[in-house]
């Protein structure tokens, strides 16, 4: 497997994963309405990215259209348990939300770095197909990162100091 296919594969996995995590976070934080709606909206970007990656992958001998790998259980499972106990009226869900935003941010950052790698590799090999893909998708990944970051910045003062 070439370096490029490795990155494509990692990115495809990362985008699918992020889509799923965004949708789960949207579900968990239904009562935090802005989180719920925006997470749902921007999960769509990751969905598109994964589809385009699968499409592009075919030109590099990759079949990325299969079912998504299971996201690692550990941490998510614990979160889900906690969320099940949590009712909308307690402060703890606020901390849980910050934690989820942090994870989403790290996931998006991971994807962003992969997009960067892909774009650089594309430049080095003057592969315009790959460069176009990265140029089209990377900005939306950056927007996902900015969103999680700004939500953390906005909510932390209130949610952390009030517990």
């Amino acid at each position: 497997m070439s370096g490029i296919t490795l990155v494509l594969k990692a990115l495809h996995h990362g985008e699918r994963d992020l889509e799923e995590e965004l949708l789960k976070a949207a579900e968990r934080h239904r009562t935090d309405h802005e989180i719920h709606h925006v997470a749902t909206d921007i999960a769509r970007w990751s969905h598109e990215h994964a589809a385009r990656l699968a499409d592009t992958g075919r030109h590099y001998g990759l079949d990325l259209s299969g079912p998504a790998d299971d996201p690692s259980p550990g941490f998510l499972a614990t979160l889900r348990e906690k969320a099940a106990e949590a009712v909308g009226r307690r402060p703890e869900p606020g901390l849980l939300l910050l934690h989820d935003l942090r994870d989403l941010h790290l996931a998006a950052t991971g994807n962003s770095l992969h997009w960067e790698m892909l774009a650089q590799a594309a430049r080095a090999t003057t592969d315009s197909r790959l460069l176009d893909l990265a140029t089209a998708c990377h900005p939306q990944t950056l927007r996902q990162m900015r969103w999680t970051n700004s939500m953390i910045k906005t909510l932390s003062p209130q949610l952390i100091t009030s517990v």
Partner: protein, 825 residues
């Protein structure tokens, strides 16, 4: 010429046609209490309208210490003497027998009368306790769009520099937040680029989601007078309802709810495709054109037609209208602001004007409207989730400047995060991190979405709520302390309308009982809290309206909303004056941006902008890179499908809105006989096809329900678009047996029982016009038609199916026009 008309039956009165470029002829509207003649009036006291955002100037008639009527001010630039029905009759609410006259405090679960000392003592004790134990973030203030400038500014200083909380917002969040945000996105700064006088010059007027006939009736009179004159302007109307605006429009587009961005992208696509672009203007004054062109490249009329469910041909006609305009005036209101992708849609209207170079010249105006009369003041004074004087919370210099004016340490002013918008404050209260909420002049228990949730939040034991209002509103009934406030006509102050015109409103009569002006209440609180500046002097150094105004002038100096050239004396006697008003511009400023945008430089701007989908702030570094020369930003937006779409279970789109006869939650207008009987109860509107599909008839009692709740209303069949049901949002419960909520296990009366909790991520304005609903028959009509007015957008499709709305002799007002030569009497 003087005549008298029923201004309930004919809300806009008689015509005074005029040609383009001419001054709008004066027409003085007067309404006095039965039996009172103008000669019998003791005094006329200068004021302006507090029941909608037009800012109509008027004089209050006083006789024997009571308000007995009103008369328009013919010299005023805003209304030239005209008044709308709410202006003409609304003043009677001041004298309602059920005004609050003494403070109330909760004792053993009940509200009982108390003195001011007791009531304020409780508020101060709780504030201090919370500050000690939980910090400033546990206290929030939720105000209105109906106080005066002096009051907002005082409240802003108390909240930001006294308490030091991030939680201060106005109900302008529900009304005008998107207007402010859209201006910030495009011009870097709030401030209306247009002027009402642009109506006099425009050859094309486009109203985007703006039922001007009902929301700003006097402004609509100006349009009607142009339409009746030579070389009338052509109108474009975007509205799903058959409003009066739609009836006069050359092109009417009635898109599916939640698709405004798709529609606007198609209009922009057409303008670019046909090269109706002022390239020289774009080159000189804008950044971002290429991005927009790329974004809308595929947004053809056919593409949008499929999304918006309007004919592609009508979209091209609309684009043709906009593209061929030489003097284009656009206005935007709730049809955009309270709908899906609010800011993104409003910003596209700005883009239209930038593309066409239609700004800063007579007739080339842009009015991102307000619904509330003093909404502009919350924005200027920072009582709305901004910093005072359009300062940028992310700009250390701006914060330092504010700290200098207030003589506090910059750290005292919270600016580590954006100020908290109202909907988030309620979320914090729900979660328990906000423990005290001081609500002044607004009624969230009727006006916020998903009312059972709001009632639950306000009803929590751990949340201490203070309500300051005129009446025992639905919200006040849930409060721990209720403070009786004085209102318009009973206190002095200034306020500013949507086109930046500042008016003075003088005190005419004494407030009832122990009711006090809001300013006095805030000043009393500041005194009792003993807020200090950094030299241990009192934080608040003013003591009455005029000294508060002077304090505000200092804060506004050098900012776009510069008030330094204004004074009470300058405003008294004359007409309203538009800010900025300075030594250099002593008569005010009619149009902003006559030489292109002026406040978009990174050092000056109020905001670096936001991502229109996520709401994440653009960073300063990005902004500088994008816009190094401080030009206007053409910001493209992708269309996203609405968050709650129709389904088999909920097949209709729910739309909410208002009628000309009421304001807000009817706190005042419901207590005015002429207005109350014109629109006495909630109704539901549907098209004939949708009614027939459900075998429903005019006047049937139906239940409109969504996943959140239900409303019972009589049906009115109108020419509204198919696939939609409309509810007016004014009706609450104070005049029902339950007082503040629906009777147990029955459908409610307030439209917000059904609306969704969702808001625009950029402006944080709640989306009252995006929900899915179903309609079912509750009871067949006994022949009584729906209680909706017949004079407005709710007019029945079959005129014979409901008696015409009239007001009778009590609703007569005189209108006095100049003679034919145009000389004034």
């Amino acid at each position: 010429m003087k005549d008298s008309t029923d201004r309930i039956a004919d809300p806009w009165g008689g015509r005074t046609p005029y040609p383009p470029g001419a001054a709008w002829p004066a027409r003085t509207d007067t309404h006095l209490a039965a039996g009172v003649t103008p000669a019998a009036v003791d005094r006329w006291v200068q004021s302006a309208s507090l029941l909608h955002s037009n800012g109509d100037a008027m004089d209050i008639a006083v006789k024997d210490g009571r308000i007995v009527g009103v008369r328009g001010r013919a010299d005023d630039r805003v209304n030239r003497g005209r008044l709308g029905p709410k202006d003409l009759f609304g003043w009677q609410a001041n004298a309602s027998p059920d005004r609050l006259t003494r403070p109330l405090v909760r004792e053993g679960g009940r509200l009982v009368e108390s003195g001011w000392d007791t009531a304020m003592g409780r508020i101060v004790a709780r504030s201090k306790e919370l500050l000690r134990e939980r910090g400033p973030g546990s206290i929030g203030f939720y105000t209105t769009g109906q106080l005066f400038l002096e009051e907002y500014y005082t409240l802003a200083v108390i909240a930001r520099a006294g308490i030091g909380t991030n939680h201060l917002d106005g109900n302008t969040r529900l009304c005008t937040a998107t207007a402010g945000e859209a201006l910030k996105e495009t011009f870097g700064c709030d401030g209306q680029p247009g002027s009402y006088a642009d109506i006099d010059h425009a050859d094309t007027i486009a109203l985007f989601g703006h039922n001007m006939a009902e929301t700003q009736p006097v402004l609509w009179m100006r349009v009607l007078d142009r339409l009746a004159g030579p070389d009338a302007p052509r109108l474009l109307c975007v509205d799903p309802r058959p409003t009066r605006v739609a009836r006069h429009a050359a092109v009417h587009l009635a898109p599916r709810a939640g698709t405004n961005v798709a529609l606007l992208n198609a209009l922009l696509h057409e303008l670019i495709r046909t090269d109706r672009v002022d390239h020289a203007y774009v080159e000189a004054h804008c950044v971002g054109f290429d991005e927009l062109a790329a974004r809308v490249a595929d947004c053809t009329a056919e593409w949008a037609a499929a999304i918006c469910d309007v004919p592609a041909r009508t979209i091209t006609e609309a684009a043709e209208l906009l593209g061929s305009a030489e003097r284009l005036l656009s206005t935007v209101l709730q049809g955009f602001y309270q709908s899906h992708q609010a800011t993104a849609a409003a910003v596209q209207v700005n883009n239209l004007h930038l593309l066409r170079g239609m700004l800063g010249r007579p007739g080339c105006g842009l009015l991102q409207m307000n619904g509330q009369p003093t909404a502009q003041n919350t924005r200027e004074c920072g009582a709305n989730g901004d910093l005072p004087g359009f300062r940028n919370w992310e700009n250390e210099q701006h914060v330092a400047d504010l700290a200098r004016i207030w003589n506090v340490a910059p750290e005292k002013i919270p600016h580590y995060a954006p100020p908290t918008p109202a909907m988030q404050m309620f979320r914090f209260a729900e979660q328990g991190s906000i423990r005290m909420l001081w609500i002044s002049g607004t009624n969230p228990a009727v006006s916020l979405p998903e009312l059972h949730r709001i009632r639950d939040i306000l009803g929590q034991d751990r949340l201490f709520t203070v309500v300051q209002d005129l009446f025992l509103t639905e919200t006040a009934q849930l409060a721990d302390v209720v403070l009786p406030a004085a209102t318009w006509g009973e206190k002095t102050g200034t306020f500013t309308n949507a086109d930046r015109t500042v008016h003075l409103s003088d005190k005419a009569v004494e407030p009832p009982g122990e009711a006090r002006p809001d300013l006095d209440i805030f000043l009393d609180y500041a005194r009792r809290m003993d807020f200090r500046d950094k030299d241990d002097g009192p934080l608040i150094t003013w003591h009455d309206p005029q000294s508060a105004f002077q304090a505000w002038q200092k804060c506004s100096a050098g900012r776009p909303c510069d008030y330094t050239g204004l004074s009470y004396d300058g405003l008294r006697g004359g007409s309203g004056i538009q800010w900025p008003c300075t030594e250099q511009a002593p008569d005010g400023t009619e149009r902003l941006y006559t030489d292109g945008p002026a406040w978009a430089h990174a050092e000056a701007c109020e905001s670096f902008g936001k991502d229109l989908v996520t709401g994440a702030p653009v960073t300063e570094v990005e902004y500088r890179a994008l816009n190094p020369d401080g030009k206007a930003v053409i910001k493209a937006a992708e269309y996203l499908p609405p968050h709650e779409d129709t389904s088999e279970e909920y097949p209709l789109q729910l739309n909410t809105g208002r009628t000309i006869y009421h304001f807000h939650t009817r706190t005042k207008t419901g207590r005015v006989p002429q207005l109350d009987s014109a629109a006495p109860d909630v109704w539901a509107e549907m098209s004939a096809a949708e009614a027939a599909a459900r075998d429903l008839r005019e006047g049937d009692l139906v239940e409109v329900s969504t996943p959140r709740g239900a409303v019972a209303a009589r049906l009115r069949i109108t020419a509204i678009r198919d696939g939609m049901v409309f509810l007016p949002f004014h009706y609450g419960y104070w005049d029902t047996a339950e007082g503040h909520r629906p009777a147990p296990d029955t459908a409610g009366r307030a439209a917000n029982e059904t609306t969704v909790t969702d808001w625009d991520p950029a402006s944080k304005q709640p989306l009252y016009k995006t929900a899915a609903a179903r309609v079912a028959l509750l009871r067949r009509t006994d022949g009584t038609p729906g209680p909706a007015p017949t004079t407005t957008a709710s007019a029945p499709l079959d005129p014979g199916s409901a008696p015409a709305t009239t007001g009778g002799p009590a609703a007569h007002a005189t209108q006095h026009t100049d003679d034919e030569e145009g000389t004034r009497p």
